[in-house]
Symmetry: C2
Subunit: 197 residues, 2 copies
DNA sequence: CGCGCGATTGAGTAATTTCAAATCTAGTGG
DNA sequence: CCACTAGATTTGAAATTACTCAATCGCGCG
C-alpha cells in the first residue's frame, strides 16, 4: 500500500469538488484548511457506536475502502454503505441529532481520508454558498442511491439484488468477500453462495 | 374537504421554511412567486411514470396525502414514500437525470400543494443561500429517514417493521389501508394481516 | 504439513408467499 | 330498516424461499 503525499490528496479533493463547483486557489486553500488527513489501517475504526466526539464527522476517501454498519442485538452485522475512494462517508445520523454515534465505520482496507468536523463543515457551508451547493448535490446523489436500494429490496428477490449489485459496482465486488456483500444485500452468506452458482 | 385560501397556504409554507431559515417579507415574496398552487382530487396523479415535463417537480403538501410508488412488471405496487401535510414530495430521480419520471405519484386523499419546477428551485437556491441551506437540511432529513428504513429492512422481520412503522407514523397509519402499509413494508397484505392479530 | 479463513453443501426448520375462499364493512337504493 | 354490492380484510392450506446449524471443501501461508 503506497500512501499519497498531502499535495496529491489535496489535488484529488479539489478535482472532486470542482466537478460540481469551480474554486479559486484562495477559496480552495480555505476549504482545505478545514480538513485533516487521516490514515487508518485495515480493521481500524473511524467511528464506533456510542462515540460522542464528532471531530472526524464527514470523510472524503482518498484511497482504501470502508464499511458503515450496524450490529444488531444478536451480533449480526448489517451494512449500510461501502465507501471506496472518491466517496464520502459519515455517521449521518449523528450529525442532525448530534448525539452518540449509532453506527460503526471501519476499514476493510488501509485507507487515507480527508476528515472534517461537523462544525467545520457547517462553517464552510455558511461561508461559501458554493460549498453548500456542493454538499447538497452530493447528498442528493446519496439520497437517490438509497431510494434505488429501497426499491430493489421491495422489488427484487435475493438473486436479482445480487446481480444488480454486481452490475452497479463492478469494481467493488472484487474487493469484497461474499459474506460482506450478503450482509449488504440482506441475505445470509449461505443463501448468497447458493445463488452465485 | 375544506380548501385553504392562498394566503393560508402561503403562511403554512413560510412557517415551514422559517423553522430552518428566517426570511424577510420581501424574500418570502420572491420565494413564493416561484411556486404555483395545485389542487388534486383523490386518485389523481401528480406524476406518472414516463412523464417528461417537470413543471411540478418539487411539491410541498399543504393538506391531503399522497403516495410515491413504482409498479413492477408483474403489476405490484411498491411504495417509496407517503407524503402527508408538511412534507415534500418529488420524483427525485428525475431531477438529477432530468429524464422521464421513473415513479408514480398519486393522491390517496384530495390534496393541496405548492409546486415548484426544477428550474425554479435551482434558481431560488442560486439566488438565496438561505434557501440552498434550507433544501440541504430537508434533504438531509429525508436521507436519514431512508437510512433508517434500509436498516430496518436488514434488521427486522415483518412484525417488527410493522410495529416500528406504527410508532414512527402514528397519525398516518389511521389514514392508510393495510394493503398500502404492506406494500410500503415489503410484505404481502395477507402476511401483514396475520401479524396484526 | 497443518492451520485459519472464507466459501460451499446438505438437511431440517421457520417465515413468507400464493391462491382460494370466507368474512367484514361502508355505502346505496328499495 | 333491510338487502345488496364493492372493496378491504381475514383465514386456510399448500408451495416456495430463505434461514440455521453443521460438516466439508479450497486455498494461501507460515
Amino acid at each position: 500500500m503506497i500512501f499519497c503525499s498531502f499535495v496529491t490528496m489535496s489535488n484529488i479533493l479539489r478535482q472532486h469538488i470542482e466537478k460540481i463547483v469551480p474554486l479559486t486557489d484562495e477559496e480552495f486553500g480555505i476549504v482545505l484548511s478545514h480538513f485533516k488527513t487521516r490514515k487508518l489501517k485495515k480493521h481500524q475504526f473511524l467511528v464506533q457506536e456510542g462515540d460522542t466526539a464528532h471531530a472526524h464527522f464527514d470523510n472524503f476517501v482518498i484511497s482504501g475502502l470502508l464499511k458503515v454498519y450496524h450490529t444488531s442485538d444478536d451480533g449480526q452485522e448489517h451494512i449500510l454503505q461501502f465507501a471506496p475512494q472518491d466517496w464520502w462517508v459519515a455517521d449521518y445520523q449523528a450529525c442532525s441529532v448530534s448525539g452518540p454515534a449509532v453506527v460503526n465505520i471501519s476499514c476493510l482496507e488501509a485507507s487515507e481520508l480527508l476528515s472534517i468536523s461537523f462544525e467545520n463543515r457547517e462553517r464552510l457551508c455558511d461561508q461559501f454558498h458554493k460549498l453548500e451547493h456542493f454538499f447538497r448535490k452530493k447528498l442528493n446523489g446519496g439520497f437517490l442511491a438509497q431510494q434505488r436500494r429501497i426499491l430493489s429490496m421491495l422489488n427484487k428477490n435475493a438473486k436479482e439484488r445480487y446481480e444488480q449489485f454486481l452490475s452497479l459496482y463492478p469494481g467493488l465486488s472484487q474487493r469484497l468477500s461474499k459474506t460482506l456483500i450478503a450482509s449488504y444485500l440482506g441475505v445470509s452468506r449461505e443463501t448468497l453462495s447458493r445463488l452465485s452458482g
